[in-house]
Each structure stands twice: as C-alpha cells, then as structure tokens.
Chain length 749, copies 2
C-alpha cells in the first residue's frame, strides 16, 4: 500500500499522455502547464534572428582557438553578455595541454619531388580568410613530434577492415607512411590503427569524392571544399578518455597532479598531418602497386593505386606542447524552489579558426536563450530549479573545457545535475536529438510545438517526413510514417555531453538542426560568417528554431513539478539493443560457419585471379552460443518496473504538492547504469549503454561492453559484460522499485 | 502400356544421372559413351593454342566490318579454312542495309566553343591502330541523318528511371540534345528513350568511372579506355526485331520485298553520336542547372550538373544508307545416320574495326574445332547428325547475317535444327553459358570435364568457386557451394543466337569465358591482336578451353543416341520465374500502397529542401491481385510430365535401338513454347519464356510478356499474357505426354 501512496504524489504528472489530445505538458499540472506555455510564447517572442546573426558575426570576427588572444576575447565577450542579460556569470579557468605546431613539412622525394603547400589561401569572397597571423595552421592536434621518411601506402579510410584487405594483397605498412582519406570514422581512429599496424606516420587528406567537387561546387562558388581546403582536428585517442590528456578523471586545475605527456595513454606515438586534395594528388598519382579496390577509389582523375612502390615521402612535424588556459564561462540563475537542482545547458566557444558554424551557430542560440530568459526574470518570474548556462573552451582539441569542469565538480554534479543539454554546430534542415532515452517524451512534446522555419509544420512533422521519405523499404517507410514519438538517438562522442553522460551518468540531450547545410568548411579557415550566411542558415531562422527547442527543454526541466523522465522509453530502446545484439551474434555464427566452409572448400584460391596473387582469408574461430538470459531477465524485471508506472497512471489522476523527493530519485536514476569498473581497457567510460566506438570514434556503440567484445570475437569478455550490463539494469530497476516505497537512497560515490 | 513401351527406348539414356559417379555420358550407352570419351580425348589433342593465336592475328590484321574489303577477305579466308579442313563450305550472301557515315560534326557553340575530335589516335604500342584508311570512324550505326542545335541536358544512363528524376527536377528534354553515359543498358535504349521524350539528338559517351582510368590503367599502359577511346556500336531498336531493318521476318535475299527505310519500325528518328571522355569533358563541365544526383556522377574532375543552361551544342551526322553484301560462311559435314538432323554452331566474323576479341576470339575457337573435327573425319569417324558450322557476317550492326539466314531457311531449320551453339568474344576467366534450360544436364557434364587452364580444376569447379565467393549472403554462399548443376542463364540478346531461340524456338546455347579480362577496347580501334595478347587471353589457353567446351557440346549433340534434353531442369527454372513474378507483383502492390500513402501524407513536400524546388511524385495506380493460377496449374501439369520421365528411369535400365522418333520430338519441343502472336508490340519475338528487355536491350526478361506488363503497370495485358504463357507450357506438356503414346506430331508452321 505504501508503494502506491508514495506514487500518488507524481503519477498523474509523470506519465506520458496521448500526444494528439495533449493539453498539458508532461510534468506539469493543467494549471501550471498553461502558465508554462504562456511563458514559452513570451520566450519565443523575445528571440531575435538578427541578433543571432550579429552574435555569430561578432564572435567569428577573428580566430579564437583555445589559448589564443582571440579565444580570450570571445570568452570575455560571452561573460559580458551573460552578465548584461542579468545572469550571475564567471569564468572558471583550467590549465590544459594544447600543442601548437612549430614545424610542418611534407614532401615527396621520389619518383618526383613535390613539396606540399599545407596552406589554405585567403579569398576575396571571404572577409576573415586572410587573418593569417592569427590562424592556426593546418594540422592535427596531438600528432606526436616526428621526422620520418618512408614508402607511401594508400590505406583507404584507414580502418581495421581496410588493413584486412591490405593483408590479402600481401601489403604490410610496417615501417611505411600511410595516407588515408578523411571520412567513415572519427579522424583519430586512422592514425591509431596505422600505429597499431606499425606505420611510421600518417597523412590524412580530404578526397574530392567525399568532400570536394564530386559533392558540389567548391568554395567560394559553392559550399564544398576547394582543392586547398584542409580539415584541421584533434586526433587524441578520445575513446580512451577525453579532456586534458595529463589529468584523466580529475580537473586540470593549476596544481592538479599531471601525467608525463609521453605516458598519457590517449596520445599517439606517430606523426600525423592533414592535407588538401591539391597536396594529396601528386602523392597518390605517383603510387604503384595494385589498383585500389572499387570502393577505395576517390574522385581525383587518375587510377588509384595502393603502393608501395617508388613513392617515398618525408614527414616532419613538431609542436610546442604548452599548457594553456581554458576559459569556461559559467552563468547561473538560481532556482527559486530547488536551488540545488541544476539544469545545465552548454555549447563550446572555441573554434579551430573563425568557427562561425562550429561552434558559434550553437553558441549564439544559447546566448539568445539566455537573453530571453534574463528578460523573463526581469518580469518577476524565476525558474524553480537553478539554470546553469555554460560556454566551454577547448572543445576542439578533445572536449577539454567541459570534461575538466565535469571532473572538477563531479561529486556536486552527480548530486545536483538534473540534466545536461548540449548544442554545437547547427544549421538549416531537420531536428536531430541524441541522449537519455528516458527523456524521449520531453523531446517529443517539444518537437511537436516548435515550428520549422521553412515549411511551417512542426519540426517533429518535418523530421518524420524526412525519415519516411528516406527509409529504404516499404516496411520502414510505413513504420516511420506511423511514429508517434520523436526518436532520440544514442550518444557517441564528438561534443561536450560526453563526460556528463558517459563518465558521470547525468541525463543528457544533444540538440541540433542540419541535413540541408552540407559543405566543406568544417575546421577550415572558410568556416566563416560569409560562408555561414550563404550556405548554412541564411537569415538565422534555424538559430531561432534551436533556441526555441533547447530553450524549452531547459525551461521545462527547470519548472516541471514532476520531472518528465519516462523509463518505459528507455526499456523499449534497450530491449531493441539486446535483440539486435542477439541477432548480430546469430548472424556472425552463421556467416563464420559458412565462411569457414567456403575457405576450407578452397573456393577463394580457385576464384582468385592467378595474376593478382590475392591471399585467401584464414578460417576464424567459430562463434559460440552466448548466454543472453541475464540481460533478458533483467529487462523482464525492468519492464515490470516501468509498467507499474503506467498502471498507477490510470488509478491516480489527482495532483499533489511535493514531488521533490521523487524528482531527486528520477534525475539520479541514470547513474545506476554506470558500472564502477568502466568499460574494458577504458575505464573512464562508465555508462553501460552508450559509448563512442573503440574503432569508430564519434560513432556510438550501444551496450558497448558486449557489442565490442562480440565484434572483436572475445567471447569470454562478451559473456562477462552481459552480466555487468544486466546488473546495471537490475540496479536501476531495484532503485526505482525501492523508491516507490521508501525515501530515495542517496547516491553512493 | 504403350506409353511405357515407347519410353523404354530412351529413358535409360535420357535421364540425368548422379554426376559424382558418372561413368556414362547422358544420351549415350555405356559402350558408346566410352567411345565418345575417347574421341573427345583425340579431339582435345588436335587443338592448338598457337594456331588459335595465329588465326586471331591473321583475321584481325585489317579492319573487317560488313561490306568492307577486309570483311570480304576474312569471309574468304574462313571459307578456305573450312574447305581445307575437309568441310563442305559455301558462302551465302544477303543484301543488307548498312549505313556508313558521310558527315560527323559535334561542336559546343556556347558558353565556349569546342569542336569534338571524334577520333581515336594511332598508338605505336598497337600495330593495327594506324590503319585509318580502312577503319570505320567513331559512330553509332542506325543513327538518323540529322542536323540539330540545342541546349544540352545530361541524362545519366538515359534510362526511363533517369527521366523520372529529371521530371522531379522540372527538367524536360523536349527540343534539347541529351548526353548519356554508356552502361547499365544496351546502348540503343538510350536514344530510344531520349526520342520518346522528345529530344532532338543524343550523344553517348564513355565516362572514365565506368570505362576509363577509374577502373584501372588506360591503354596502352593498361587495359582500360584512354581519354580518346570511343565505343562504336549499333543503336538499331533490336528489341522490336533484329536483322536487316528492311526485311523483318524474311531473308534479305537480292529480290526480297523491302520496306522503305524511313518506315522501318526498328530505326530511330534522331541523330546519335558516341564520343570519348576527352570530347565529353568540356561539354559536361560547361553545364549548369542542378547538381547531378550522387549516383549520376562520373569520374571526371568537376561537379556534374544536369543542365540545361547556356550550353548549346550542334550535332550533324549523315550516312550513305547503302545495301551491302553480307557473307555468311556455312560449312557442313553430313551426318552418317541422321543427315536431316542439324547440329549448328556459329560465331560472327565481322568486327567494328580489327575485332581481335570481338568476334575473332570466338571465331578462332570455332575454326579450331572445325579443324580437329576434320581430322577426326579423316580417321574414318563420321558424326551421326549433320554438323553445320557457320561464320556470320554483319552481327555488329544488328545480328544481321545470322538473322537473315535463319529467316531465309526457317521452315527447314524448324524441322532439322537440333540445337544452335553460339560463341562470340571470349577471354580469360570463368565459364558462362546461357540458353535452353532443358540442356542444363549436357552443359553440366561438359563443364565437369573441361579443365580450367589457370587453376587446373574443372571449369565447373572454378565457376562454382567464383559464384560462392561473390555471393552476397551466407545463405547464398551455402547454396552456391552446394550446387551440383551448372546454372544455365536465360538468353537476352547481343549475339547471333537471338533469332534461333527467340524467333524460331530452336534449342540454343551461348558459351563463353570471361570475368578476368576487363578492359576498354570494346568496339574501338584498340580491340587488336596487341591488346588481346596482353590483356584478354595471353597464350590463347582460354581459346582452347572454349573449343573443348563448345566442341564437346556439338559432338555430343551430333552423336547422342538419345538427345540429352531434360525438361525437369526447364520445369524447375520456369517454376522459379513464376514464383519470382508473383513475388514481384506482391512487392509492387505493397510498395505502391505505402508510397501512395507517403505521397498523400505530404511527406515529400515536407522533406524536400525548399531551395531545390523538387517536385513530389504523383500517386500511382494501386496494383490489383493478378490471377496466376493458369500458370500455376500449367506448371503442375508440366511437372507431372517431367516426373514421368524420372519414374520410368528407375523401371527401365535397358538400352534399345531406335531413338529417332523420340529425338525428333525432343529437339522440336522448344517450338511449343512459341506463341503465334508473339510478344505485344514486337511480334517477331515469339518465345514465351525469354526475350531481351524492351528497356534493357541485351538484358533478358524471363516470361517477358507477363513481366514487362507488370513493370509497365499494364494489368490487363499482364493477365492476358499469363494465359498465353500458361497455354504455351500446357502445349509443351501435352506434346510431350502425347509423344509417350503416339508418333510425334509434325510441327505446324
């Protein structure tokens, strides 16, 4: 009976209602819902597209990478803005390692001599492209210092599967320099896999097929990468841990205990350099050896070969390896009712160069929200919970500003953080949201209220239309068309939410628009205001849509009487993941068995072209049956827990007063999904459901402990991880069940 | 009882035996089988790779297209060879229309001026490439005369689906000139579809992505098409009828009644010209308008646009439209026992230019067989049935030599022709065979005896290995690995078998090797002896394998006591086609219903990028349920008939003497599958099971009447055609059943 009694207090508010007839916002009563909607109307009316444009223009007027004078200027401007909007604002400074290049040389020594330009030219059509004295040159941060000479080998995208093909051709990259295309994985995976295979160095280039004239007109005529454009970027091995490489797990405060740089486990040992397709063309064209397989070939006008041959290159890079200050701007409006419950909203402010799109499009929307909220506060309203609006520094080199702040404040945050809402580069197109699946109802309701600037339907309807049209089968189209919920994606990595969800278990959302804004400006000097206004979000109308969406998420989480976590969505999602894993294991078992039979039948040797000398693959270990029952039983239990909520919904319709205790249970629930030991070989990652893939980088692996063990054919570890994930789900289930009948337990550290 | 009695005479020989333990050849007794195998050993020993090489070198020493002096020389040389081998040989001459160009002009008038070269240069690495005075220039035979100027539009491969995309972009080619890529269909489909859409003219070019440096090193460094290479070829609308356009259905004898050329229904009305990618590049690069969709883009180094814009081109071509003599060389060795049963073997001898690979690789193998057979005859052996070895002229412009001969002799051939065995261009790689499925046992047994020159396993094993390795799923690999039969493909068009099987219902086979011989010489001046010996079949060892395979087929069909037709293979194949058709109709019904729902939901309009102004598709007529039961019932009946054979096999093991009557029933059986009315809108095509696709050209459509009606969404016609095909199958079934108990009926014309 007590169980039910406790539940009276919030069941009516908590549970998701049929959306078509929705009058009230989940988590609000009828009355407070009406007030909230009114406030959101006011909020919308306070937003100005023109001002978003001015903010982007102002903050992108000079290069502003971490540690640069321009970076300090941007942090100070943001601080000033927050204050002028009426927020309590300060800068928290961390001392973080950030290498800036001293030497960059790439030259081909034979069969002909070519010295790479390594430079993006200024363009008259792009006002800020000529600020050479303030620009970071083209490089990959966290490349090792190195001076190497060797034969060149083309390794496609540089992923593990590409090296399997190289092996079948009898090509070994040991002692050689590899050249890989950008794309298909986070860039840091390419040198990591090259290093694993014994390469001396790694060159990464943008092929015009993926990022250049093959895609569309090049800049400045069109949006795509011109022949000199180079993608800068971090190659830190972020899938081990992000943040300052010298201070894993702790804040990089001035006196923090630091690792020796050469011992940092997330830094590579080989030199790496990104180049343009102008610089790549003579190198690739000089290669001999086998013709590259069809899906390796790019859009340069010659036959792609793999090498090695007579193509010898010399790569020399070194860096200053300085500690530099990272300025996190933290602005707060204290909650009137629950000041110790924090709704955190963040976007980074550092760019690789001028960064108009990445990160300033998202940053400008966040600032616009902050201004509107400040105006609302001036009218007398105060949020129930504390709003914490953040502008992170040093995201580009490895999510450093946000990670150090999270690590520095983790105990407090695991007590107080209700949610972390992230944005980053955003532009014209379709809404996409990744994050904690228990927040799917919140996201769905918001997406059904915000209007798409181009089509004037809701952003929900537009995203649904896109999913429907682009679905690959009639069945998938039908399913997409019938979707009532906005599908929240799982979080990998690539922006500042990573430490919040994956290290600390704080419920998170990452919100953005895009899909109609393709281009080649990413991490180049051409990510400028001129480019942005032509190709990304002319009129800044999607900047407004982003403010409306992320702002609503913050405002509703701040003022909800019952926090709108719905674990039924989480159950459904995880149940899908587990079915997918079981299916994957079954398919692997079948395909391994057949493939081994094909190999033993000598079919590869017989089918191969004898002139090409391709090696037949070796048989692989057969796939055993894994015991998935711990996961299945845990999910059965978890389903029961989440169904209890739904049953209570029907029985209790009345409102009540104090949801505080239950809210605290809810927002700390996701921490139950952390495993103390973390993922194998990367214990910084503690979430059992989401992590960036060890060999994909940004790309998510769901239930990563199990999934990656299966992919790596480590059956013992897969079985162990099944138990660990099942325990985490049972832990969450028990925690929720327990809280029905007793005061919520305090989280343990 | 009589039924069984009649069957005694051939059941033991007829039926396919387990191949692993196979001692006797199907159709032969134990004793005659041993003799046959011995004779085949002798036959093999008489073949000479060196001589095949000499033949290719000799016959490719000068250009030899139809009507040329070189063509006459080649025909005479072949005649002389047959005679010298001891065959009765003669030339049958037809007077056929063949247009040769007088004017060829292609120029871009704006935005810049470019005059196309329209010329392949001589290369010092290619000895015959400089014979300019004897070469046909680069052109498409059967282009209309024309002098047109218009805006240029890029139409991808120029297929119906491409025009749907153009329509969605609001682009109409009416009054414009289109430029299409070679590939994805027979070339003649491209101008036909362009004409259907109102285009003034059609340019066809070879994109380096499909046929150039993207695929591998270009000629003469490698095998692929260099920037100046042009694919000549016929654009006759052969899917209406092949052969001389002026004499459909009758032989083009000197005094035959001829159509007015401008009334010939298989000739197009617009000018057409093929060009190199060197000539295409400035035209394509000048195009404006929408960026081409991703799968339209080729490998030239710029952004592909569709146009139209300021790109105006002028195309002028005219032709001499002369009747020219086509010389079919016909060589015979009269059968000792059944002189009026003809085993026909053919290959064409005309080339577009020097034609070392196409057609001389196959021609040389046929001549090598003829020589070896001549030697066998000198030892005293004579084939039981008459061997007719043919060398066709004028295949390249439209299968003309073979078609006119067939049409000229159709009554006699429908009485006497036991089988037609075709070859054409052939080279290094894997055996492939298309043809009458009742001959699958014959093909399988032969493929398990001929050795692959490179791997020394049987050509059956090697083809199976390739099918296994390249299968796309574990299930498909397993199936490929477990295959006991060599899978005979269905015949579309593209070589001289077409009239035999599709017009006259004569059982046919088309045999070739390939798959490791890719290159860009096809229909260019570089299809030369130099190219052939480097890239196609160095050492001419696959020439020998082809002689062994096609020669065995001819020898076994000539000497079998019971002709090895096995209609159970036909039943299985047709049953698969019908299941596939039913499945296709079901999928179309489902996808149309869903797609219409998506369209009505306005999803296209909402998902589209408003800046691109793409039109949403219109709803399509819903797919009704068709009544497939006539086909299902016919197949049920047909299965019973073919199973009767298998049952008899177990009961009667004894040999008998006179199979003559039953053999005649068997070899004329395929004619029962013809429909008198022919296919809709192209009544020359009479076979109900196989035809070239109306919009694919070479590519086969099985059960074409039904399949194409469904594809064209003509439900009424689909239902009518179901009845016609079912009647044909019942006709064959009744004919076979009837022949169990009565003398075989004579075929009716």
């Amino acid at each position: 009976m007590r169980k039910i009694l406790v539940f009276v207090v919030f069941a009516a508010l908590f549970v998701h209602q049929p959306l078509s007839a929705q009058k009230t916002i989940t988590g609000f009563s009828e009355k407070t819902s009406a007030a909230q909607k009114q406030r959101e109307q006011k909020f919308d009316a306070l937003l100005s597209a023109e001002r978003i444009g001015q903010t982007i223009k102002d903050l992108s007027s000079a290069p502003h990478h971490v540690g640069s004078p321009g970076g300090k200027v941007v942090a100070d401007k943001i601080l000033t803005k927050f204050k002028s909007y009426g927020w309590d604002a300060k800068i928290e400074t961390y001392q973080v390692l950030f290498p800036s290049p001293k030497t960059r040389v790439l030259e081909m020594l034979s069969p002909t001599v070519y010295k790479a330009l390594l430079k993006e030219p200024a363009l008259k059509e792009d006002a800020t492209s000529g600020q050479e004295d303030q620009q970071l040159p083209t490089y990959n941060a966290w490349s090792a210092d190195g001076d190497v000479t060797g034969d060149l080998v083309f390794v496609n995208y540089g992923l593990p599967g590409d090296y399997e093909i190289l092996a079948s051709l009898g090509i070994d990259v040991k002692g050689k320099i590899v050249i890989a295309k950008y794309g298909r994985s986070w860039r840091g995976i390419k040198p990591k896999v090259a290093q694993e295979h014994g390469a001396l160095g790694c060159i990464i280039y943008s092929d015009p097929k993926d990022d250049g004239y093959y895609q569309g007109e090049v800049y400045p005529k069109g949006a795509f990468k011109n022949e000199y454009g180079v993608q800068r970027g971090s190659i830190m091995d972020m899938v081990i841990y992000p943040g300052d490489p010298l201070t894993p797990g702790i804040g990089a405060t001035e006196n923090a205990k630091r690792l020796d740089r050469l011992e940092a486990p997330n830094l590579l040992k080989i030199p790496v350099l990104p180049i343009s397709y102008h610089d790549a063309q003579p190198l690739l064209e000089a290669l001999e050896g086998p013709v590259a397989p069809a899906d390796w070939r790019g859009a340069l006008p010659f036959t792609y070969h793999i090498g090695p041959g007579k193509t010898k290159v010399h790569l020399k890079v070194d860096f200053d390896w300085k500690l530099r200050p990272a300025y996190d701007v933290i602005a707060t409006i204290k909650g009137s009712q629950y000041p110790d419950e924090w709704v955190i909203r963040g976007n980074h402010h550092d760019g690789w160069v001028n960064g108009a799109n990445d990160p300033l499009s998202g940053m400008a929307s966040e600032l616009e929200e902050a201004k509107a909220i400040g105006e609302l506060v001036k009218t007398g309203w105060k949020p129930k919970r504390t709003l914490v609006y953040c502008a992170w520094d040093a995201e580009e080199p490895g999510l450093i500003g946000s990670t150090e702040w999270l690590e520095d404040h983790i105990k407090e945050l695991q007590q107080k953080a209700v949610v972390y809402i992230n944005t980053d580069a955003s532009a014209r197109g379709f809404l996409s949201v990744e994050g904690s699946h228990a927040l799917e109802t919140l996201v769905t309701e918001i997406s059904k209220e915000v209007e798409d600037p181009q089509t004037k339907v809701t952003v929900f309807e537009r995203a649904k239309a896109e999913n429907t049209v682009s679905a690959s089968s009639a069945k998938a189209k039908k399913e997409a068309m019938d979707k009532k919920m906005f599908e929240v994606g799982a979080m990998g990595s690539g922006s500042d939410y990573s430490s919040f969800i994956q290290h600390a278990g704080i419920p998170s959302l990452n919100i953005g628009f895009g899909g109609e804004d393709a281009g080649g400006e990413y991490h180049s000097i051409y990510d400028s205001y001129d480019d942005y206004t032509r190709f990304k979000d002319p009129g800044f109308v999607y900047g407004i849509a982003l403010s409306k969406t992320a702002g609503r998420a913050a405002l509703r989480m701040a003022d909800a009487e019952a926090l709108p976590f719905d674990f039924r969505s989480l159950y459904k999602t995880v149940d899908g993941y587990v079915k997918d894993l079981m299916n994957q294991a079954d398919q692997m078992r079948e395909s391994t068995a057949v493939e081994n039979e094909v190999i033993r039948s000598n079919s590869y040797a017989l089918a191969n072209d004898p002139k090409k000398n391709i090696k037949a693959p070796l048989p692989k270990e057969e796939v055993p049956y894994l015991d998935f029952s711990p996961l299945q039983n845990a999910l059965k239990e978890f389903k029961k827990t989440t169904d209890d909520f739904a049953q209570l919904q029907d029985k209790f319709k009345k409102d009540s007063l104090d949801h505080a205790a239950m809210n605290k249970v809810l927002y700390m629930a996701e921490q139950r999904l952390l495993s103390e030991s973390g993922l194998p070989r990367r214990d910084w990652y503690k979430h059992t459901l989401y992590a960036p893939g060890f060999y994909t980088g940004y790309g998510v692996k769901t239930i990563p402990g199990v999934r990656e063990a299966i992919e790596q054919r480590n059956w013992k570890e897969a079985q162990e991880q099944i138990h660990i994930v099942a325990d985490a789900i049972l832990n969450l289930s028990a925690y929720l069940e327990h809280s029905f009948g007793a005061p919520p337990p305090m989280p343990q550290d």
